[in-house]
């Protein structure tokens, strides 16, 4: 049990800055997920916390203590790897007890801890097996068991679910969440899957190009992204981004997307954007906020007609794709309301959920 802090941490491989000046505070017991595309520096950050990579500059604290020069074994951390990294010549019991044995725990204590962890993970019957005789999900459980028995200050997960098939991944995700609620240990979890990040995290750290784009709760991240990158990375299908110009619309403002489509900025936000009138901006709206006209209190100005290019039925909803001024836009509509490809459909933009983005800085305004 401990808090983890990163202060201005930098990692440079040869001449490439992989992690550039990261600062992050993780309170005790929190589940933090580092998420971002490949090469964003999330795994490197995790490995620096683990002590598997030296840090080029900055400080890392675990439990209030600077651990920069401490070897991994003295940091009191446990790590779960993507490919499980189970010792192939040892049984499940030996795998889980290896760390305790090296630390010279009494035999009785080892047995008790392994039995306890095995019960939590439901792998008691597998203790005598070798890793090769286990399925992917079982191996993942053993790898977690190896971390749990140590009862460390911090759990580190490095893309632990990437090697599992889709169904098992969802199952293990729930499992990890359940285990965290039971053992309540500070956890840093790395993934490139935004769904994993959103479902597991107390707070999500979105990284890109070696810097932190935003640190926020999953809900906050979804509703109030701070940058275009975060807005586009979180949510699936991704947010639509369209070139637009902000223009005066009577007393209010209007987002001009094309000659045919101009959507009114909600009155509550007009004051905020007043100064940007006449500027070229990027308009962001999630697919789930482009629907068939369904609300009774809707503003008729938010409706527009679109000719559908592609229609993708998903079961509970249907994705419709169309273009506005040459840019592809995705909407999520009720299956009953969708027309066929090539046909025209009335759509409604929920402008209360709109974002305006500065095209130069990428900041959400």
């Amino acid at each position: 049990m401990a808090e983890v802090s990163l202060r201005n941490v930098v990692k440079r491989f040869d001449d490439v800055d992989v992690v550039r000046n990261i600062s992050l505070d993780i309170p005790d017991n929190e589940f933090v997920v580092l998420v971002g595309p490949s090469g964003c520096g999330k795994s490197t950050t995790l490995r620096m916390i683990a002590g598997l990579e030296e840090i080029t500059a900055g400080d890392i604290y675990i439990g209030g203590e600077v651990v920069n020069d401490l070897p991994p074994k003295d940091r009191d951390i446990a790590m779960v790897f993507q490919n499980y990294a189970l010792y192939p010549h040892m049984s499940v019991f030996e795998n889980m007890s290896f760390g305790l044995k090296l630390r010279k725990f009494p035999k009785e204590e080892i047995r008790k801890r392994v039995a306890h962890a095995a019960r939590i993970l439901d792998i008691t019957e597998l203790l005598d097996r070798k890793p090769k005789a286990l399925s992917g999900g079982q191996r993942q459980r053993v790898a977690m068991g190896r971390a749990i028995v140590r009862n460390p200050k911090v759990f580190l997960f490095d893309e632990p679910l990437s090697n599992l098939d889709a169904k098992l991944r969802v199952q293990m995700r729930t499992e990890i969440k359940r285990v965290h609620q039971m053992v309540k240990t500070t956890t840093v979890y790395v993934t490139h899957d935004q769904v994993e990040a959103m479902t597991l995290a107390d707070r999500v750290v979105v990284m890109n190009g070696g810097v932190i784009e935003q640190i926020a709760t999953p809900q906050d991240l979804y509703h109030h992204p701070k940058t275009r990158f975060v807005a586009g990375f979180i949510g699936s299908p991704a947010m639509n981004f369209l070139r637009c110009r902000l223009e005066q619309n009577g007393a209010g403002l209007r987002v001009r997307l094309s000659d045919a489509i101009g959507l009114p900025v909600p009155a509550s936000q007009s004051a905020r954007f007043q100064a940007l009138t006449g500027k070229e901006l990027i308009f962001g709206l999630r697919p789930e906020h482009i629907t068939e006209p369904r609300r009774n209190d809707r503003d008729p100005q938010c409706e527009f007609a679109a000719t559908l290019d592609v229609v993708e039925p998903m079961g509970m909803e249907t994705m419709v794709y169309f273009t506005v001024d040459g840019q592809e836009v995705c909407g999520r509509v009720d299956p009953g309301s969708a027309t066929g490809p090539g046909e025209t459909m009335r759509l409604y933009a929920d402008m209360d959920r709109m974002h305006l983005i500065d095209p130069q800085s990428g900041a959400v305004l």
Partner: protein, 299 residues
């Protein structure tokens, strides 16, 4: 019309399948034929050795008898004389001492070298690894003259302990090279997991790397054993008295006197000299395969 099409298609499909199985049968027959030819080819010399070793000197010397069969009755005299009236047992003992020591030294040196070169990245480690392999490419026929000076300088000329000094120059580079490959094939996460679990480098080597790389280590051991058991040039150059001689050179020098070849005893000696490698190969092969498939079925 459609039934005609089906009828026409059906035999064609059948013929495709039967030509596949015919192909397979021919492939099998051809491979068996060649396997049998090669087996006969490689088994003729050992067979000739056995037959000759079981004959009496008189029969071997008699030009008119069939060399492929024992006509005058089996005899174990060749073995008896070899074991009781020659230095064969001394050669054998010396060879065992030399081989066991060389294998032990080789394994210690090359496991440690391979672990550090393959796993602990340091400045120049890959150049060093290649350099070690290059030394293996220098043939012993080139090396024995300079090595003679070295062996003489350390006072081990005509002493089988000198062989324990020089054989590792042949075995260590190759074994190190084999094991670098094996150690590198072990996923990096395995040592990282061990590091986090609290293992030092020595524990990582003994508790993780050696057990996991056991098949590779055994392959290297077989190589070191073979080289040192069958070495000929070095003992030929560095050993000259019978009490220090090893099997390969000793058998030949003591059983060929001028132009007199003791064929029966030579063959008996060669057979007995070949027995330990055979036994060890058979035993270690089982181990080797067990190592490869460990945990596949049940722990």
């Amino acid at each position: 019309m459609s039934t005609a099409a089906v009828a026409a298609a059906a035999p064609r499909r059948l013929s495709v399948r039967s030509s596949l199985s015919r192909n397979r049968r021919w492939a099998l027959i051809t491979s068996y034929v060649f396997l049998v030819i090669f087996a006969i080819f490689f088994l003729i010399p050992p067979y000739y050795m056995v037959v000759t070793a079981l004959k009496s000197d008189a029969e071997v010397a008699h030009m008119a008898t069939n060399p492929w069969i024992v006509a005058d009755g089996f005899t174990l005299d060749q073995f008896k004389i070899l074991l009781t009236q020659t230095d064969f047992l001394i050669f054998f003992k010396n060879t065992v001492i030399v081989t066991v020591s060389v294998v032990a030294i080789t394994m210690v040196v090359s496991v440690l070298a391979a672990f550090s070169l393959g796993r602990m990245k340091f400045w120049g480690s890959s150049i060093l690894a290649t350099g070690i392999f290059l030394t293996y490419l220098v043939p012993d026929t080139l090396l024995f003259i300079p090595l003679f000076q070295i062996v003489k300088a350390v006072g081990l000329l005509n002493n089988y302990w000198g062989m324990i000094l020089v054989y590792p120059t042949l075995t260590v580079p190759f074994c190190t090279w084999i094991m670098i490959g094996y150690f590198q094939s072990i996923p990096k996460e395995l040592d990282e997991a061990a590091l986090i679990d609290g293992a030092g480098h020595m524990q990582m080597l003994t508790k993780i790397f050696i057990p996991v790389a056991l098949p590779g280590i055994i392959a290297a051991m077989i190589f070191a054993f073979t080289v040192s058991w069958a070495a000929f040039v070095y003992p030929m150059a560095f050993l000259y008295s019978a009490d220090q001689q090893v099997l390969t050179v000793g058998t030949v020098t003591s059983l060929i006197r001028g132009d007199v070849y003791k064929w029966g005893m030579l063959m008996a000696g060669a057979l007995m000299a070949a027995a330990p490698p055979l036994v060890i190969y058979a035993f270690l092969m089982d181990y080797y395969i067990a190592g490869l498939t460990a945990g596949a079925t049940k722990g």
